[in-house]
Structures are given as structure tokens and as C-alpha cells.
């Protein structure tokens, strides 16, 4: 064996051990890093429930339904084949409007903002329509309302799929 080939062999050997060392070392360090990353996502949390099951679509009649207003702060509104979960917080200063069935509108008692059943503002100081919450159907056929996801009309989000339920 010539010295040259021996040197080459050595070099190959040298490279392989060193590279195995560095590669595994880097991988292990990355693993430790991801440990810290995964650690930062808790497995359970104690946040209040922002989702609730709101019965079946058949339970709702055309118009505004107030059964979830107390407790969850949601109006279920069925109109033109769409069921939506409307927030009951006035977009003006955060008061709670009331539903006036005779006049077919939501009226905020604080500063008189008025909204159509659709949630669109039409009178008073309210700057924008009421917000919608995400609504979907569970496999069991129940309506699930998720208050963590908000859909705003003025942002064009009322066209998005989970802002309403076809019924």
C-alpha cells in the first residue's frame, strides 16, 4: 500500500467518524431544543370553555333564538337557510343589546345602536355589525359553536364557510 492510499483511507476514516459525531451531536442537540419547544405546549389547560353544543339544527325556528344568550352570550339566528351564532356584544361600547321581537331588531339599551336580525347595524352609534362566532355540525348531528373564532362582516368574513350553517 502506498502512503498516498493509506493517507486517503485515513482521511476517509477520519471524515466518517468526525461526521458521524457531528451529525449525531447536532441531531441530539436539536432534540434537546425540541424538548424545550414541546415543553412550552401544555397538555392540559384550564381556560374556560369557549365551545358549546347547541342542540340540533331542527331545534331552531326561523328568526332569532335567545336560548343561549344567558350563559353563553350567543343569539342563534336562522334566516334564509342559514343558521348563525351572533355575538351579543354591542360593537359600540360593549353593552348587551336586547332582542325586540315586535320590531324585529336588536336594540342596545346603552346608546341606542340598532341591528337587523342579521347583525348588520342600521342605527345609532355602532361602528360595525355584530360579530359572528364559528358554527359547525358535529358528526352526531349537533351544532357546535366556537367562540374563539370570530367572523366580522366588514372584513368580508361572513362569506367564510364556518361563519354559518346551511340548514
Amino acid at each position: 500500500m502506498s502512503t498516498e492510499t493509506r493517507q486517503q483511507l485515513n482521511r476517509r476514516e477520519f471524515l466518517s467518524f468526525l461526521s458521524v459525531g457531528w451529525i449525531t451531536f447536532t441531531a441530539a442537540c436539536a432534540g434537546l431544543g425540541s424538548m424545550a419547544f414541546r415543553f412550552s405546549y401544555p397538555n392540559v389547560n384550564f381556560e374556560p370553555e369557549m365551545e358549546f353544543l347547541a342542540g340540533k339544527p331542527e331545534d331552531y325556528e326561523e328568526g332569532v333564538d335567545e336560548r343561549w344568550k344567558n350563559g353563553f352570550g350567543v343569539w342563534m339566528v336562522k334566516q334564509e337557510g342559514k343558521l348563525v351564532a351572533l355575538s351579543n356584544i354591542c360593537t359600540h361600547l360593549g353593552c348587551i343589546p336586547s332582542w325586540l321581537p315586535a320590531e324585529l331588531k336588536f336594540k342596545c339599551p346603552c346608546h341606542g345602536s340598532g341591528y337587523y336580525p342579521s347583525g348588520i347595524n342600521f342605527e345609532g352609534p355602532a361602528p360595525r355589525p355584530l360579530e359572528r362566532y364559528a358554527i359547525s355540525l358535529t358528526p352526531e348531528g349537533l351544532i357546535k359553536v366556537d367562540k374563539t373564532k370570530i367572523f366580522r362582516h366588514e372584513k368580508g368574513q361572513w362569506e367564510l364557510a364556518s361563519s354559518f350553517l346551511e340548514v
Partner: protein, 260 residues
Amino acid sequence: MAGKGLVQKVRDTQVWKSIFRHGPPDNARNRAAVVAGNVFLHLHPIKLKKSGVQLGYTWCMGGLTFFIFLALTVTGVLLMFYYRPTAEYAYNDIIALKEHVPLGIMREIHRWGAHAMVITVWLHMFRVFMTGSYKPPREFNWGVGVILLVLTLLLSFTGYLLPWDQLAIWAITVGSNMAKATPFMGHGGPGAMLAQIGDFVMVSDKNDVRFQLLAGRFVGEPALLRFYILHCVFIPCVVGVLIAIHFWRVRKDGGISAPL
């Protein structure tokens, strides 16, 4: 005469000599020894160009930033004795500092100091830029400085939540909602909806960067704890390390800048 004799006597004791290896700094040798022989002072060079000590030139903003950082560390550690980062107690503990804790003014000093540090660090950057001190060989140190500036803002920002009042949670809510909009990594940011397989939303409010930051979907008690740890332990440690690098590089890159 007697006084002088006494001072001299003290200076001659073994204890004194074991601590201070040099005589009074009134001659060249001792002036060098003071700086070189003291762990704190030896951050400085033994001699430097005259321009480096002129306030009109340096504004002393970097030094003040470091000093305020130290002051904040001390006051911050003291405040930790009275402060519990829980939703039940945080606010009451701040009230306690305000109302009955002896020298609770520590909180004011800490808070205003934090603001002052933001200002001094900005002005420090302003000065360094104006004197062109980021130019070679100091490019790297400028980068370290920029990161320190960002960390200063983050330190202040994380501390903002701790009083647990309206000001705190809404400022942090506004701030952390930005994280929600991070492209691809926040559920309200562009690209988040691309990461979706069937019904399975991969980037949602339960797992995006904001959740990681707040340990929750909104600013709640876990966020308070997380910000507390970031504020008191994590970021200060990083800042400490970076400050060491920053100072070391100032010395290695030729001291306070001056015309070449």
C-alpha cells in the same frame, strides 16, 4: 496628622493589602493597577483616548444603559420578594407595594427605570450611528447591540403584564395579537390556512406562536407566569450573556470608537 496616620495604618494591614494590591492611585503605576486589578473596573482599558471620556462625544448612554440594567436587576430581585405571579395575588401584591410595603417605591424606580433604559438604549444607538461607530471592525458588535436593543424592549414588554391590571393585560393582548398574525406560524396570519389536512387545522389558536407565548388562547394566568419567567429569568440571562459579549468586543475591537 493622626487621621492620616490612621488611614495609613489601615492601608498597611494585611486585610487591606489582601484586598487592594496597590497603593493610592496617584501615580501612573497605581492608576494602572486600580483598573487592571479590579474585576469590575477592568472592563475598562487602562488608558484611552481623550475623546472617549468626553460626554459631548459619548453621551455616556451605553454606560447608563448598563447601569440601569443593573439597577433594574437589583430592584427587580427585591420586588420578587413581595410579588406572586398568580391571578389571585399579582394585583394585590402590587397594591401592597403601593400601600404598605416599606420603600415600595422600589416599584416606581423599577418601572421608570425600565422606561429610562429603553430611552437610553435608543439614544445609545443614535450616538453610535451618528459617530459611524458601527463601521469596521465593529460590525458584529453593532449587530449584538441591535439584538440587545430588541431584548430590552422585550424585557420591558414582558414586565408590562406583571401588575395584572387593565393596562397590563390589554397592552399585552394588543401586543400578542400581533404574534397571532405571524405568517404561517400564527393562526390569524397569511398562510396559516394552507396548513390544513381535511378537518385537521394544523395552525390553530391551540398551537400557534401566540399560544406558545401565552400558554393559552388569551392572556390568562399561564401567560402571567410565562411572562414572569421570561421577564425575571430567561431574557435577563440572555441579555447578561450578550452584554458580556458586547463589552468584550468593545475592548477587542479597539475601545470606544474614535477617528481612525
